[in-house]
Symmetry: C2
Subunit: 229 residues, 2 copies
C-alpha cells in the first residue's frame, strides 16, 4: 500500500514569508545590473506588496534586512532606493576581502589536509586548461572567484566565508564593468600557481602574503580601470 503513503511535506513553502521575500528581492537586485542602467532605483513598498501578493509587514522586514546589508537604503519619509556602491566603497570591500582571504590562506597552511590542497590545484588546472581553450574569457571572473572561495572554505573559518560572501555579492555586481585584459589573466594564473605552491609547502607567511598582494593588485586594477561614481 505504498501508494497510499502520504507524500509528506513537499512543502516548498517551508520558510516564512519574510525569508522568501528577502531572498527574492536580493536575487532580483543582484540580477539586474544596476550599474548599467539608468532605470529608477526606487522601490515602492505598497506596489511591491501587491506584486508579491503579501502585506507590507513581512515585506518591510525583508527590506529592513536588505537595508542593513547595504543592498538598499531606506530614507525616512522619502523612499527606498537600491544602493549603487561608490567606487571607494567597492575598493574598501576588495581591501577587506584581501585581508580576510590572506588570513584564510594562513589558516589553510595549518588546518587543511594535503588532499584538500591537491583538490585546489586540480581546480586551478581545470580552470587553466579551459582558459586556454576558449579565448572567450567571460567566465574568468566566475572561475576566479571559485578559486578564492575554495581557499576560504579550506580555512574552515565560517565567519570569513560569511563575510566574504556578502562582499562578493556586491563586487560581482560590477564585474561586468571590469575591463578584462589578457595580461591580467595570465598574471592572475601565475599568482594562483604560486599561492598553491606556498600552501602545499605549508609556507604560512608566504601564502598569506601572496594572497594579499594578489587581491590588492585586483583592487589597484579596479581603481585604475573601472569607472564608477
Amino acid at each position: 500500500m505504498a501508494s497510499l503513503i502520504l507524500n509528506v511535506s513537499p512543502i516548498e513553502e517551508g520558510f516564512s514569508l519574510k525569508a522568501r521575500i528577502y531572498e527574492a528581492l536580493k536575487a532580483a537586485i543582484v540580477r539586474m545590473n544596476i550599474y548599467d542602467t539608468d532605470a529608477e532605483l526606487r522601490l515602492d513598498e505598497r506596489a511591491l506588496s501587491q506584486q508579491f501578493g503579501i502585506s507590507r509587514t513581512p515585506l518591510r522586514e525583508a527590506l529592513a534586512q536588505l537595508d542593513q546589508e547595504g543592498l538598499v537604503k531606506i530614507v525616512p519619509r522619502r523612499g527606498i532606493y537600491i544602493v549603487r556602491k561608490t567606487k571607494a566603497e567597492i575598493l574598501e570591500m576588495i581591501t577587506v576581502w584581501a585581508g580576510l582571504e590572506g588570513m584564510a590562506a594562513r589558516l589553510v597552511t595549518h588546518v587543511a589536509s594535503d588532499e584538500e590542497i591537491a583538490e585546489l590545484r586540480q581546480l586551478h588546472e581545470n580552470f587553466f586548461s579551459a582558459e586556454e581553450i576558449r579565448e572567450h574569457l567571460g567566465e574568468y571572473s566566475d572561475a576566479n572567484i571559485k578559486f578564492h572561495q575554495a581557499i576560504i572554505r579550506m580555512s574552515k573559518c565560517k565567519l570569513i566565508a560569511t563575510i566574504t560572501d556578502g562582499l562578493f555579492m556586491h563586487v560581482r555586481a560590477i564585474r561586468q564593468r571590469t575591463i578584462f585584459e589578457r595580461d591580467r589573466a595570465r598574471r592572475s594564473l601565475v599568482d594562483h600557481m604560486n599561492i598553491i605552491e606556498a600552501l602545499e609547502g605549508r609556507k604560512t607567511e608566504r601564502a598569506q602574503r601572496l594572497v594579499v598582494e594578489h587581491t590588492l593588485r585586483l583592487r589597484d586594477h579596479v581603481e585604475q580601470h573601472v569607472d564608477l561614481p
Copy 2:
C-alpha cells in the same frame, strides 16, 4: 533680541522608535554579562513592547536587526533568545579581527601621516605609564582595544572599522572571563612597541605580520585559558 531666537531642534527624539529601541536593547544585552549568569535568555515580544510602551511592530524590527547581527536568535513559533556565542565562534571572531587589523596596519604604512603614527605612540606610552602605576590592571583590556582601534582608524578604511566594531561588541562580552596574566600584559606591550616601530618605519609586511601574530596570540590565549560552551 537674541533671547528670542528659537532654540531649534533640541529634539532629543530625532530618531525613529525602531532605531531607539534597537540601541536600547543592544546596550542592555551587551551590558548584562550573559556568560556569568544562568538567567533566562528568552525575550518576550509582548512584554518588551509594554515595557517600552510601544507596539510590537517597531520592536520586532529592532529585534530582527539584532538577530541579523547575531546578538539574538529568533526561533519561529518558539521564542527570541539572547545568543551565547560558543567558544569556536569567539575564536573565529578573533581570527577575523586579526586578518582585518593586519590589513589595517598594512594600509597605515601607506596612508597615515607621521603625525598620526606619533599619536599612536603617544597613546601607547600613556597607557604604558598608567599601566605601571596601578597594578590593578582591570582597564588593560579597554586600553588594549583602544590601541587596536586606533590602528584601524588610521587605516582610513571605514569598512574594516565597521566590521571590527561588530566583532568587538561580541568579544567584549567575554572579556571578564579572560584570565589576566602579568606576563601576557608585558608581552603585549612589547608587541605594541614593535608594531609602532614597524609603522613608523613604513615596513608594510612587517607591520602586518606583527599585528596578525599579536592578535593570533590573543586567540590562542583565549583558546587555552577561557572556558566556554
